[in-house]
């Protein structure tokens, strides 16, 4: 993007990272995916590791993540991103490898891969976008859908008795000794974005330690799936998702590294 000339005396204090392509993103207005992409690439830019970073895109709305994040990327089968990342990291152990996955991808069909990848302590970063719904396929129930929440496949609201409980997979994998750094973040307001960026930075740096898996859950929105405006969706998220999925660190390296 060409930037217009600006009165002298001004300097750029924020521009999109070079590692984000200029391709317009296909996400719905207000969808959190775009922010997370950008933050990831900001860190890649800052750490100057574009040439060493390999990403894995999931099947979900972010299936086209590789169109936006300007690093080498592979597109994995639904739920298998961490297996694909394992394959990459094992043969290229000095690269920075990350997966980017939705809640259907990571916490439903990919549960086995998620648990075992973390249990092996694969030295990768798993970025997990929890928007409580299957965005891409049109708003079906996800494992993380809240009780009572209506989706196209829980038209009367999710009921625990038949559909089970919201799955806090991040809490589960925190228990695994292979997990090095586990944190839950959001992107609904500027400071949340700042915190996410710190977490991503840490996670990439930890990857050099080869001491285990870094896992960042981002509690996010899906205005389309939730049938809300972006603002409504963020508000609803704060009021309903955050109590179930409280933000903050679940595990930091000091706890496991001595």
């Amino acid at each position: 993007m060409k930037l217009p000339p600006i009165t002298n005396g001004f300097e750029i204090v924020y521009k999109k990272p070079d590692t984000l392509t200029d391709t317009p993103m296909h996400y719905c207005p207000g969808c959190g995916h775009g922010v997370v992409h950008r933050v990831l690439m900001e860190v890649v830019d800052e750490m100057k590791i574009q040439d060493k970073t390999i990403g894995v895109a999931p099947v979900g709305c972010s299936v086209f993540a590789y169109n936006y994040m300007n690093v080498d990327m592979q597109e994995a089968a639904h739920g298998r991103a961490t297996a694909v990342a394992t394959g990459i990291k094992r043969v290229l152990p000095d690269r920075f490898v990350f997966t980017y996955q939705g809640d259907g991808d990571l916490a439903a069909i990919g549960t086995g891969e998620t648990v075992h990848t973390v249990n092996r302590g694969e030295n990768i970063l798993i970025v997990f976008i929890n928007n409580g719904v299957y965005g891409m396929t049109g708003g079906q129930m996800a494992p993380t859908t809240l009780l009572g929440m209506k989706t196209t496949t829980s038209p009367y609201g999710r009921e625990a008795a038949s559909a089970g409980f919201p799955l806090k997979i991040t809490n589960l994998i925190t228990q695994l000794p292979g997990a090095l750094y586990v944190t839950r973040q959001a992107v609904h307001e500027p400071n949340a974005v700042r915190r996410l960026k710190k977490a991503v930075r840490l996670a990439f740096e930890y990857q050099l330690l080869k001491k285990g898996t870094c896992f960042i859950e981002v509690v996010s929105n899906c205005p389309s799936g939730w049938k809300m405006t972006p603002q409504e969706s963020n508000k609803w998220m704060e009021e309903n998702m955050f109590p179930m999925y409280p933000l903050g660190d679940l595990k930091v390296p000091s706890q496991t590294m001595n």
Partner: protein, 363 residues
């Protein structure tokens, strides 16, 4: 085959172990797999020997995970393989379809056992269709090689990696429990005898100034997806032209040609001897590449031979490809055993006698 330069070492080995050792010598960089009888020796052998010789061996949590690890490693440019049997191979179908679509090279070994279902662990050839017609979704093929000896279990590993890299496609070695478990002498080429090729498309990290690499099988626009399919089909036509492999035994004067692959071909070879002793003019055609199927050779055989007898350890699968190749010009008979049963040479001999008799009655 031109892939075994240098002097080779001769050993007495199980088929599964010979295959594993050959893989190491062929420069295997990563193996991902999951135990299942009758192929667990591949993983076990590699677990012992790969670490010493450099390279990754990982027992995955499932075959599903394994094939997707193979995807990742192949996409990252590694020489990579997995192995399994029946149920485990079925679980890999989605992944195989993905790899075919993303055009990633790898070796998948199926040491067949009797099915369907959990079945039995005894040798079988029941996965022919799955291997050759595409058990996964969409239009794709793998190159499928069928060894019939421990030596070929080893040789075809080299061949498979070479073909996989050349055509950017998954290659399958379609073996069976007997070939996996039996021991024979095997000549093993030295390590490093299969060169590595450049893989500029591999995701190894985007170097400054270079175009980055994307490995995907998603092509949302049908026009684009059809393009990809056309490219694949063009590749398959090329493979069908260039990579047909078969072995013909005593077919020149044969009035009846046995057609069999893998273990069944070995047994047919014995039956052929027995039949020749009895004065029957019997030949044997052994397709080695099941895909591409050696269809063309049947045209010429059909001019001399009076009939074909296809022998398989299944309910009749390759027989369809034989019929398609013969195009109704000669009768094509079938003899099969199923679910882990192995036909004996004598049984085949008596089938030869039966079909000859019947044809004489018919004509």
């Amino acid at each position: 085959m031109e892939h075994t330069p240098g002097t080779s070492e001769i050993r007495l080995m199980k088929g599964n172990e010979a295959l594993a050792e050959a893989a190491i010598r062929a420069g295997l960089q990563a193996y991902f797999g999951y135990p299942i009888t009758p192929q667990s020796e591949v993983l076990e052998y590699l677990a012992v020997h790969m670490p010493k010789r450099g390279g990754v061996v990982l027992q995955a949590e499932s075959e599903l995970a394994a094939i997707n690890m193979v995807f990742g490693a192949a996409g990252a440019g590694a020489r990579v393989m997995t192995s399994s049997s029946g149920p485990g191979i079925s679980l890999m179908q989605e992944g195989i379809s993905y790899m075919a679509s993303a055009e990633l090279p790898c070796l998948i070994v199926n040491v067949q056992r009797g099915g369907p279902g959990l079945g039995t662990i005894q040798p079988s050839q029941g996965d022919y269709f799955q291997a050759t017609k595409g058990g996964g979704h969409g239009d794709y093929h793998m190159i499928v090689l069928a060894p019939s000896s421990v030596q070929e279990m080893a040789d075809f590993v080299f061949e498979s990696f070479r073909l996989a890299d050349k055509y950017l496609t998954p290659v399958m070695i379609l073996s069976d429990g007997a070939l996996g478990q039996m021991m024979e002498k095997v000549a093993l080429p030295p390590e490093g005898s299969l060169p590595f090729i450049e893989k500029p498309w591999a995701t190894t990290g985007k170097k400054p100034g270079q175009k980055r690499r994307i490995i995907t099988s998603l092509f949302m626009q049908p026009e684009e997806m059809e393009e990809v399919n056309l490219r694949l089909q063009t590749k398959y036509r090329l493979i069908e032209k260039q990579e047909v492999r078969y072995e013909a035994l005593e077919t020149d004067d044969a009035e009846i040609v046995l057609v069999a692959f893998g273990l069944a071909a070995r047994i047919c070879e014995k039956a052929l001897t027995l039949a020749r002793e009895k004065g029957f003019k019997v030949g044997l055609l052994r397709p080695i590449s099941l895909y591409p199927f050696p269809s063309k050779v049947f045209a010429s055989l059909a001019t001399n031979a009076e009939m074909f007898l296809v022998v398989e350890m299944n309910a009749g699968q390759m027989v369809e490809d034989v019929k398609l190749a013969v195009e109704g010009k000669r009768p094509v008979h079938f003899k099969g055993r199923m679910g882990g049963m192995i036909p004996s040479p004598e049984e085949i001999l008596s089938e030869i006698e039966t079909v000859i008799e019947n044809e004489q009655v018919n004509t």
